[in-house]
Subunit: 190 residues, 4 copies
Amino acid sequence: MPKVGMGPVRRKQLVDATISSIHTYGLADTTVTRIARSAGVSPGIVHHYFTDKDDLLFESMRQMLRSLKIEVLKRLKNSNTKAERLNAIIEASFSPEQFSPEVTSAWLALYASSRHSPGLFRILQLYHRRLRSNLLDALGGNNPQNLDKAEAIAALIDGLYLRAALNLDDSDMQQLQQLACKMSAKLAGN
Amino acid sequence: MPKVGMGPVRRKQLVDATISSIHTYGLADTTVTRIARSAGVSPGIVHHYFTDKDDLLFESMRQMLRSLKIEVLKRLKNSNTKAERLNAIIEASFSPEQFSPEVTSAWLALYASSRHSPGLFRILQLYHRRLRSNLLDALGGNNPQNLDKAEAIAALIDGLYLRAALNLDDSDMQQLQQLACKMSAKLAGN
Amino acid sequence: MPKVGMGPVRRKQLVDATISSIHTYGLADTTVTRIARSAGVSPGIVHHYFTDKDDLLFESMRQMLRSLKIEVLKRLKNSNTKAERLNAIIEASFSPEQFSPEVTSAWLALYASSRHSPGLFRILQLYHRRLRSNLLDALGGNNPQNLDKAEAIAALIDGLYLRAALNLDDSDMQQLQQLACKMSAKLAGN
Amino acid sequence: MPKVGMGPVRRKQLVDATISSIHTYGLADTTVTRIARSAGVSPGIVHHYFTDKDDLLFESMRQMLRSLKIEVLKRLKNSNTKAERLNAIIEASFSPEQFSPEVTSAWLALYASSRHSPGLFRILQLYHRRLRSNLLDALGGNNPQNLDKAEAIAALIDGLYLRAALNLDDSDMQQLQQLACKMSAKLAGN
DNA sequence: AATGAATGAGCCTTCATTCAT
DNA sequence: TATGAATGAAGGCTCATTCAT
């Protein structure tokens, strides 16, 4: 049953299975075999498409960040005022795609493990830089005061996301999004 | 070299070694043997004082939360105004004891793994409830508006903590503490 | 050197290696690693074919009992008189296949450990029921007197087997078989 | 609370705890710590009174065989006819002291493990020799025919004992004793 | 392209034994 | 005499990775 041109398809399958497995079993119990089974393929195939397990985890985080980036850009394109740009950034983070239980679980797990994984660390830094840059832009430029605000808003977003990942308050996306926007506006103000 | 009455001492040693090991090697590479060696004891002794590895991880988290609780209570005792009480809570979280690289690393790692560890999940919920309760109190009572504020401030604290854990901006405790206080005040205001 | 369709072959190899290892080292010193090495495979593969060590031990006992059952049925098929049927049962127990040093050693060891192993206990009960049933049939029906006789003959068989397993008298199969038949005939008579 | 002259007492305590532990947990799960706890002493004390664990197991078997020997001698002393002597031997094996669940369990477990334990092997050979000698005596002397009979009766005793150890037929001591006597008489006859 | 058998390193855990007290 | 803290060697088991097919 070998097929040609399966590369991209298999890669996506495996990345999705990885995210899903992290959500279901936790990162510690996410084994290559389990991922493969969940993707409906054999364990061996994983190393055909990915260098090793770390590479697969890395690509999973990358897919999530790529997806977030697209979401942000899409919304920024339609934003004209500062306030709109700020909301665009926040709403992107809490959009359905970025905020499914699977994605938040995987995000938290990989985020936490990034300290000891150079690859993950690197792309998460990129994400943070981009987020800060976007926020500074939405706040009206890079100055000490705005740096503080950007830092706080970024922390607010991550914090809300983080707490949602633990399902600590059975969080409703819609509601959380509104809270994030409202509070960010406060932080952005004087 | 067996000695009597070493129980509490050994337990503390092992918990500290665990926190330190998580920081140095990451949770995934924190093995019982490594913890024991780091504590200067043999691998076998770990199971003399803890049921199993999970128990040791649990107790490590517990020690951190207990320490935080003490810090908060100590500061709340000397706080009279609402603003002081709010600051007390925040400053406790960013006090030297709670905010060493070792502790933040361990906190993040265990926080992330709590979704699939009933014990960790439970005590983290307790922490969150207590934090919310303290914040509501500092904000002047439990009402819908304050609930939102408390949620946001809690997220801000966790978010700043989280980002510091990744050392993303080589954060300076002092500075972060001030930022947290300032921004929380904004969130608390109208 | 992975090959396809090796399942049944490997399972048989491992079961035989288990029986042999129990004979050579004793059940207490029969480790998974030792079994694997004796079968010429790696330790890890054992858990590819068996749930765990207990499962492997269970399957080893099962193979011995299955083999005995086949031997008994084969001989009963050619038996017409009561006396012949009684001899058939006994001779099967002391046939070369059932009575090698390896098999008797393993049989004794697993028999003894069955008290604390539900799986082993179950299949040994099946064996005992079948033996009793066969004996009652050979004795001419289920009545109190025959029950006593069956019990005694079964005990005689087990006892002789047991003592042979300890090699207490450097027992010769042929001779033992004859003794068992002769004495069983006595027990069967009035 | 060190006391002098505790030697014999402690040794008996530990041997009894060993037998009891084998019955309750099985030989494989009978650990030194468990034995000690069951005897109400500390794990370390075991090696004060016994060379090592094997020594303790050996002494446990020895106590059981010693007890059996005493029981046999006591009954033989009052036996005058051949038939009485035969019954004396059998009844001793199934007397309350020898036939408690604890003792039968321990007996079976140690019996089975004796193949790979020189010490156990030795004293069990002694037991077998004594049993054979007693039986030959009761049968009227050492000749080929009586050797066969003695062998069969010994096997019958061990077999019945063995099956009782597994509790395969919820055996009642009284009844089993009678069965053993009746069937032995058959085997002893011509 | 795909399978899954096979490896082997390493982890958690247990436990007989020793030893300071 | 007695404790129980401590060691260290093994054992069962898991799992990322490789490789013949």
